[in-house]
Amino acid sequence: MPGLNTSMDIAVQALMAEQGALDVTTNNISNVNTPGYSRELAVFQEAPPIQEGNVVYGTGVTLAQFQSVRDQMLQLRMYEETAQQGDSQAQLNSLSQIQTNFADPSQGVGGALTAFFNSLSQLSTNPTDPNARQQVLTAANNLAAAFHQSAAALGQVQTAMDQTVPQTVSQINQLTSQIAQLNAQVAQMQGLGQDPGTTQDQRDQLVQQLSQLTDVSVTQTDHGITITTANGVPLVVGGQSFALQSGAASGNGLQGVFAAGQDITSQIQGGTLGGTIQVRDSVIPNLLSQLDTLASQFTASFNSANQAGFDLSGNPGGNFFTPQAAVSGAASSFGVAITDPSLIAASLDGSAGSNGNVTKMLAVQGQPLPEGVTPMSAYANLVLAVGNYGANAQANVTASGASLQQLTDERNAISGVSLDEESTNMIQYQRAYEAAARVVTTVDSMLQTLLGVGVTK
């Protein structure tokens, strides 16, 4: 049979439970702006009832646990989208630098090619004019400078991106080692049936940062989570992390990424690292190769035109541009072979005043190179490629940004701290606390009454 003392005990327990719940609210409110924080709930539970005869009566409330509210699936999708975002953003940043070199159609290789052919056209009106000849040489040297500048611009961006690889790899290693530590704690707490709450928030936040750097695959196991790269190289297993290494890769002399001695550079996808490697190893080499092909084939094509004619002294024409032994590197080694303007083989019949071979030189402008298009179309295609890469990266950044924003909204709808909700809870707990306190007062008063029985004044 419960007595007044039992009521007092139940009331005190209720006071403690409400106070504990208020702690949760306080903690939630405090962390309203903490990135990655998942709101916690105070889980109240009925205390085990007591049965006496036919009467079962409750023994109040206990605060069973503080539980974080989270959606693990949503979290995984956010990792993926974050990796996509990091990838596109890295590509966009580098492509924005590259494309300024191809922005003005009257400048660069395109403009220089036009100017070069115009100088030849000018020469055709007066093939013996030394000024016109000098102008052809000047325009040819400008063309060489334009090729060098474009190749150097691409090379500089490539080098700059290459230098970030070791930094990114070391950031990844730092993150995976922190994640492994927290992961072990989370697994331990989960093993004990506790809610890992804050520790899990911190771990998930770090995984989010890791996703920004490279695409990872996260799987839930009995020992916390297992993180691998997108192609299955383990990074974190339970409480253990596996560091990646960076170093000179064989072949191209660029920085490679290694896992346990294996070169996994080409398998890295997503994230800043994936985007960087994509631009460094695929986009820039592709653009450079287009530029090199143009430089090499134009050199050969124009040289054979020059060789078909005779120079001002009536000698057969030689190489106008420095012959290119290999396609690779042709843009950066593009050069003018002659310094004497009289060596321009404008004459077709050997007479100084003949301009017949200039016509053949000008024809190079309109004839397809071996790659199938005219020099100017080859350059236009290069501009198109640069533009397409940039536009794609821009579109991806926009798309993944919108997607990520939506996922964040969804996550916050579940895990975010609502001040309105916390205020409501606060009032609720306060009222319950006041009521329980009133019970204590009432019981106290009842005890007073009881103690006063039989006492005569």
């Binding site: 922005a103 115009n118 055709s124 005043g353 003949s354 640069v386 536009a391 409501t424």
Partner: protein
């Protein structure tokens, strides 16, 4: 249903987006260009390479036409003077062919003709800036020099070569006629018939002079018909110039379509973006400070 309680990032995103729209519209208005870097419109940027090339090439063609027109006019003027001189020579030849002229008079006429010969020689050696117009492609050597051993009295140092210059895409015009074709062709030999007349007047008979005068007439007809070449080229250059100028206008208009901003649209966009931006700011100002706490009474002690 629980909704996202933290709308600050969304509000900021909306503000950024409208701001971005404002920036884009403003940039289009201030630069007048829709495509400022290739990624703005890769295809248009790539087509602009061709447009720019064509436009710049046409500018060069127009310069070529200016230079050539000058050459054609100089050549035409020189040949005009040759025709005048030949006319005069023919009159003298007719005068010398009549049986009534005395030998002294014939010598006198021959002297005049030697002067005309020198004049035509000088005209046949017309040059612009050291470049001889009637020497074929051997344009750096004096085409005609006096040569007493030659039956025509002169020696041709030029060649039969001709030059062509491109003045528009796919349009090459021949820019010269060699002296060999102009002055000494099968249907008439200017220098040969002139020399023949001089010799006839100096040492021959009236009928010799008449024969030579007839030959000179043939040469006159020949050069008159050849001279038409320069006039034709000039006409062709003129019409090409008109065509190219029109072409330049078309290219500018094409460039405008490709990368130019639609100013009306950009201005409208700017207005819309500004309105949207204001609305986003106003909404933020209204929503952000609001929570249940605003409506709860402060706890009373």
């Amino acid at each position: 249903m629980r909704v996202n309680p933290n709308i600050t990032p969304d509000v900021l995103a909306a503000i950024y987006e409208t701001q971005q729209q404002e920036d884009t519209a403003l940039q289009q208005l201030s630069t007048g260009k829709r495509v400022n870097v290739p990624s703005d419109d890769p295809l248009a940027a790539s087509l602009m390479v061709g447009n720019q090339d064509q436009s710049s090439r046409n500018d060069q063609f127009l310069q070529n036409i200016d230079a050539l027109t000058n050459q054609m006019q100089t050549a035409d003027t020189a040949l005009g003077s040759v025709v005048t001189a030949l006319n005069q020579a023919i009159s003298l030849g007719v005068q010398g062919s009549t049986g009534t002229t005395t030998p002294e008079e014939r010598q006198q006429i021959a002297q005049n003709l030697v002067g005309i010969q020198a004049q035509i020689l000088q005209l046949a050696n017309t040059a612009i800036g050291g470049v001889y117009l009637f020497g074929g492609t051997a344009s750096t050597t004096t085409p005609y020099v006096l040569d007493s051993t030659s039956p025509s009295g002169v020696k041709y140092n030029g060649n039969d070569g001709t030059n062509v210059v491109q003045v528009a895409d796919g349009l090459n015009v021949q820019t010269n006629l060699p002296g060999s074709q102009l002055f000494q062709n099968a249907s008439g030999d200017v220098f040969g018939s002139l020399q023949q007349l001089i010799t006839a007047l100096q040492t021959g008979t009236a009928s010799d002079a008449a024969t030579a005068t007839t030959a000179l007439r043939d040469a006159f007809n020949s050069i008159t018909s050849n001279r038409v070449f320069y006039g034709n080229v000039e006409n062709q250059l003129n019409s090409t110039q008109t065509f190219l100028n029109q072409e330049q206008v078309n290219l500018t208009s094409q460039a405008n379509t490709l990368v130019g901003a639609d100013i009306t649209k950009a201005a409208t966009d700017l207005t819309q973006a500004t309105t949207a931006h204001d609305a986003a700011l106003a909404a933020a100002a209204k929503i952000l400070p609001t929570s249940l706490l605003n409506y709860l009474n402060p706890p009373t002690s």
